[in-house]
């Protein structure tokens, strides 16, 4: 299925976009991350949380939404 991934903060520097659609055949957040780590090698070194349906997920959470957000912390002030 096609899912939309949204990137925030410095993750957009890694991916070069704020959102994109990917073709996805896995079942969990872990699977989504694996696909993205394949696509963007340096993403693995970044700290972020993953959310769908506006809730934070763990690696084991099942994909139930067609939109996933990758949320990093912001240091600036």
């Amino acid at each position: 299925m096609m899912i939309t991934i949204r990137y925030f903060g410095l993750l957009t520097e890694v991916t070069g976009c704020t959102s994109e659609k990917i073709n996805f055949s896995g079942t969990t957040i872990f699977d989504v991350k694996e696909v993205l780590f394949q696509k963007y090698k340096t993403l693995k070194n970044k700290d972020f949380q993953v959310a769908q349906n506006n809730e934070l997920n763990t690696d084991k959470t099942k994909i139930t939404s067609t939109e996933i957000a990758l949320l990093p912390p912001f240091a600036g002030g």
Binding site: A51, E55, A69, L71, P72, P73, F74, G76, G77
Partner: protein, 356 residues
């Protein structure tokens, strides 16, 4: 009370609400991009006691967004300069300036004197310190962070709600996350995000509306998209901090993490005696004719370590202080410990050498 007329005539605030504001004590950590608008609105709203802690001084590049300061504040400590400006804005409140660095030792006793803590800092180390000290002193924390055109805001430790560590359990590796001075920030962005923080402070004091607790707001100024993400309380993460309460004040930064501050300004660099300057810019083909400076492009650094005089202190610079930070990590990996990354980059160094 004429000053507060527009508050008092709001039925949701009234005279009673205004008295609550006048009796509140709020501590703002950092009088920078976020701290300035927070302080400005809280002082104007008549928060009776305001504390400002900041060790830094006002520099010209701050004026693009740090709206409490003007030309006459340059070179003055930010907490003191902010206090001076706010005393002119509102003579009836009391303002305490702490021109010092927040650390494990001073945070707990300082936080205990206030009702609400506002995080306007610009680095993860201090953010985790603020968060942990708020957990230990049981103070609500009005948090925000910014990145280029985006901001995030939340209220932590509010009525048994989640803490910062429930959202992000561990600090990221510092060198990976650039701050405003390295990557740039839209000047008005901290104005927007800091104003949201001030709003939350006032709502907490007045018990008004829905407090941004248990949720983090992500806001993007380029498309005005905002997302409210739910955050749950993690007892495990909070307990880890509470367990440190007995020894917290002794958790000197040096003990907790061995890495010293290797990120320095030109002024700090010039206090060192035996310096070797290293230019790690990859894209400069210009030969620099100063014997004190050696040029080793970042990508060839590891192959050229023999060129580095280990008896000297290394001050590494690039364009904007990001690559030089990575270079310093590489040098330290190779036991070249006395190496420092210059925050503001080559421009300042060249200027210094030209005028030497």
């Amino acid at each position: 009370m004429n000053r507060y007329n527009r508050h008092i005539i709001l039925s949701e605030i009234g005279l009673e609400g205004q008295y609550k504001l006048n009796n509140a004590k709020v501590l703002v950590i950092g009088a920078g991009g976020l701290g300035c608008p927070v302080l400005q609105y809280l002082a104007a709203a008549g928060i009776g006691t305001l504390g400002i802690i900041d060790f830094d001084i006002v520099s010209e590049s701050n004026l693009q967004r740090q709206i409490l300061f003007g030309f006459s504040s340059l070179g003055i400590n930010k907490a003191i300069a902010a206090k001076k400006r706010l005393e002119d804005l509102n003579t009836s409140i009391s303002i305490h300036a702490y021109p010092e660095k927040l650390n494990h030792k001073n945070s707990v006793s300082l936080f205990k004197e206030y009702d609400i803590i506002v995080d306007g800092t610009d680095n993860f180390k201090t953010r985790y310190l603020v968060s942990d000290a708020c957990i230990i002193t049981k103070k609500p924390l009005v948090y925000a962070g910014i990145y280029k055109f985006e901001g995030q805001v939340s209220v932590f430790n509010y009525k048994n709600g989640p803490s910062y560590r429930c959202l992000f359990p561990n600090p990221p590796k510092e060198e990976e996350i650039p701050n405003c001075s390295e990557i740039g920030v839209l000047g008005v962005l901290p104005g927007i995000i800091g104003s949201l923080q001030a709003t939350e402070v006032i709502k907490i004091i007045l018990n008004l509306g829905k407090i941004l607790s248990g949720k983090v707001l992500y806001y993007n100024s380029l498309n005005h998209q905002s997302n409210l993400i739910k955050v749950s309380r993690s007892e495990k993460e909070i307990q880890k901090v509470i367990d440190l309460a007995g020894i917290f004040e002794n958790l000197d930064e040096g003990i907790r993490c061995k890495v010293k501050n290797n990120n320095i300004t030109l002024k700090e660099a010039l206090t060192k005696k035996n310096i070797q300057w290293i230019d790690v810019r990859n894209d400069t083909d210009q030969i620099i004719n100063y014997p004190e400076i050696i040029q080793i492009p970042f990508e060839y650094l590891e192959q050229n370590l023999h060129k580095i005089d280990k008896n000297k202190e290394q001050v590494v610079f690039c364009h904007a202080g990001i690559m030089s930070k990575k270079a310093v990590s590489i040098l330290q990996k190779h036991q070249i410990e006395d190496s420092f990354s210059l925050k503001n980059g080559a421009f300042e160094v060249m200027d210094y050498f030209k005028n030497k």
